[in-house]
């Protein structure tokens, strides 16, 4: 693939952005004095900023690139990751879980587990979370270096070290506030960088109806109904009828319930943004504020991937080029057809449609999402390391300033480990795939633990711990006994023998999650019933039935979390119906 050429204006735009990112860190340095300032942004962030950061912390480049790739692979059904797989969980965490996270004054999600259950449940969650954030930040860094090397011919090491240095500088100086502020900048850059891409792209393919017509050809060529790429629900009756390879039940339960609630309601990376809000109502509004732009993001990040298929180009499928192996040869399927590299759908769209100047803006938006995704991981890592691991197991009663210094040190170490992980990813791709698989096993049962902990006061620490471990084992067992169609036993599953074959990898993932969640739910209940519960007095503010309901009556109606939630849900339902 020939490298795209950047003009002076493109570099100028990137340079201006870098200057601002660093400048924000330098200015914020002056207002960071205490641990609360560094790790919790002083609990002083207004709802709109916390909300946009809540959204952007998840909108790393893997999301931007990955959703474009899925758009090209699965079509408009990818929007289920937003309208089914995000919005309902975001509404739930805002309305029902934030009262505990924010109200308990816990400084992290693992710390809530310590308050509600016990030390071992916190330890399990904190360690797996800390390892996971470092690796995902490393994978993000690796993806960035690889992409910019491929597109622009940049040196991998230079790209990785430069962006790691910038992220390190601003998170080191300004802590969580710096990370949150840059996430909001990134949000606006993605909007302004990708909106014109969608406009130009839709224009080129004759609007939505033109896109439908072109994708109908691709759809029928693969043996699906003409609308399978442009209708999100109509072909979900059976897994064989849609390109996702999932039927509606697996989709709604696996993605919409288990995976989505597990991520949005328990992942400290996103929850930390709401915990930094300046009041209880602001914390509860944070995920709801985020839900409004979130429901429109499919148009910004999924549509480019779909358009890439429909534009006549030099790729194997529209603009999507063939996947290259390490030696630069196109990879072929068993039938001898080139394998499309869907991850390049969105980047190729940028190069195809944007002239100099706009290209700089689009690439800056991509860089911004790589860097803020990494910064989000690093700030979540330094908090969990300092408060949940260092303070609880290594040094308990040090002065506040000691923990701030430890947080800064953890920031440096987190970034260095990310760089190491990025290089490990570039050498041993399989190790990364395996790690991500293990994390998926660890994460799948989490929501059962939190839901029981928050809404059933009889749940005990032993129950939570044993439930989590057995949920993770159930996930591994299910994955080891099943296989997606066309895969060979190994990392894709089937390492204990193959009991069932799923039509697609996603279907297998969704069902792994369903099994893990159910196991954790049942085991937690059984073990809880067999062990001694804690006194009601100790659980005040940690469990629904023992916590005072937040009062919203004095707020104007449009600021009440419940009103916002109803509006969000009504709009999401409408979007689902329009694109059904």
């Amino acid at each position: 693939m020939a490298h795209a050429h950047l003009a002076g204006i493109d570099y100028a735009i990137m340079a201006v952005y870098f200057a601002f990112v660093l400048g924000i860190g330098v200015v914020l340095r002056r207002s960071v004095h205490t641990g609360t300032d560094f790790f919790l942004a002083g609990r002083a962030v207004p709802a709109w900023i916390a909300g946009l950061a809540f959204l952007s912390a998840n909108l790393g480049a893997q999301e931007v690139i990955g959703m474009g790739a899925s758009g090209a692979k699965y079509g408009v059904a990818t929007s289920h990751f937003y309208w089914v797989g995000a919005i309902p969980a975001m509404v739930f965490v805002g309305l029902f879980m934030m009262p505990f996270y924010y109200g308990s004054r816990a400084r992290s999600v693992p710390e809530y587990l310590k308050l509600r259950f016990d030390e071992k449940t916190r330890g399990l969650n904190a360690i797996s979370f800390a390892v996971m954030t470092v690796f995902s930040s490393g994978i993000s860094l690796y993806a960035m270096g690889k992409l910019f090397n491929l597109l622009l011919g940049w040196n991998f090491t230079t790209a990785v070290l430069l962006s790691a240095a910038i992220v390190l500088t601003y998170t080191f100086l300004g802590g969580l506030t710096s990370s949150i502020y840059n996430e909001v900048l990134q949000f606006f850059l993605i909007v302004f960088g990708f909106a014109p891409l969608v406009i130009l792209g839709l224009n080129a393919v004759g609007g939505w109806s033109g896109l439908q017509a072109r994708l109908a050809t691709i759809s029928t060529a693969q043996g699906f109904a003409p609308g399978a790429y442009t209708q999100a629900w109509r072909h979900m009756d059976a897994a064989a009828h849609n390109p996702v390879g999932v039927e509606w039940f697996g989709l709604v339960m696996g993605l919409g319930f288990v995976l989505s609630f597990g991520y949005w309601c328990t992942d400290f990376l996103v929850v930390q943004r709401a915990m930094a809000a300046d009041s209880m109502t602001a914390a509860r509004r944070t995920p709801l504020v985020a839900a409004f732009p979130k429901m429109l993001f499919p148009f910004l990040v999924i549509l480019p991937g779909m358009i890439a298929l429909a534009v006549a180009g030099s790729g194997v499928l529209g603009l999507v080029p063939a996947k290259m192996d390490a030696l630069g040869h196109a990879m072929m399927t068993a039938q001898g057809a080139p394998v499309p590299d869907y991850d390049l759908a969105t980047p190729m769209m940028l190069i195809h449609f944007f002239p100099a100047g706009m290209l700089g803006l689009g690439l800056t938006a991509l860089l911004a999402s790589f860097m803020s995704g990494m910064a989000g991981n690093v700030t979540a890592f330094n908090t969990v390391w300092t408060y949940d691991l260092y303070q609880s197991y290594i040094r308990r009663d040090a002065p506040d300033a000691h923990y701030v210094a430890m947080g800064r040190a953890a920031t440096v170490i987190g970034v260095l480990l990310s760089i190491a992980a990025a290089y490990a990813a570039s050498r041993f791709n399989n190790i990364m795939d395996m790690l991500q698989l293990v994390f998926a096993f660890v994460n799948a049962p989490l929501f059962a633990t939190f839901a029981l902990g928050m809404f059933w006061r009889r749940t005990t620490g032993h129950g939570a711990f044993v439930g989590l471990v057995s949920g993770t084992l159930a996930a591994a067992l299910h994955h080891g006994l099943t296989l997606p169609a066309g895969a060979v036993p190994g990392i894709k599953g089937g390492f204990f023998g193959v009991l069932t074959t799923y039509p697609s990898e996603l279907a297998q993932t969704f069902w792994t999650a369903i099994f893990a969640w159910t196991t954790c739910f049942v085991v937690t209940i059984l073990v809880s019933l067999a062990t001694r519960p804690r006194d009601a007095g100790e659980l005040k503010g940690l469990v629904w039935s023992l916590t005072e309901r937040p009062k919203d009556a004095e707020l104007p109606w449009f600021k009440r979390p419940l009103t916002l939630a109803l509006v969000v849900l009504a709009l999401t339902l409408t979007l689902n119906l329009i694109f059904a």
């Binding site: 900023i49 506030t177 502020y181 302004f192 100047g357």
Partner: protein, 59 residues
């Protein structure tokens, strides 16, 4: 919190917008830079105005 975020957002988008628009006006064949640069500059100016107002009323 030491820094009103609307100020850096406003300044960043004003500067990038003006850079883009200026480039669009002086270079043939990049028409979209011209009007999209203006849209971004306008958004930046709006954010700057909001941040000025906020500072005056102490919000």
């Amino acid at each position: 919190m030491g820094l009103d975020l609307r100020f850096p957002i406003g300044a960043l988008f004003l500067i990038i917008g003006l850079l883009l628009a200026g480039y669009g006006w002086t270079t043939p064949g990049v028409g979209i830079d011209r009007w999209w640069g203006l849209v971004m500059a306008l958004f930046g100016a709006l954010m700057l105005t909001l941040s000025r107002r906020g500072r005056r009323s102490g919000v």
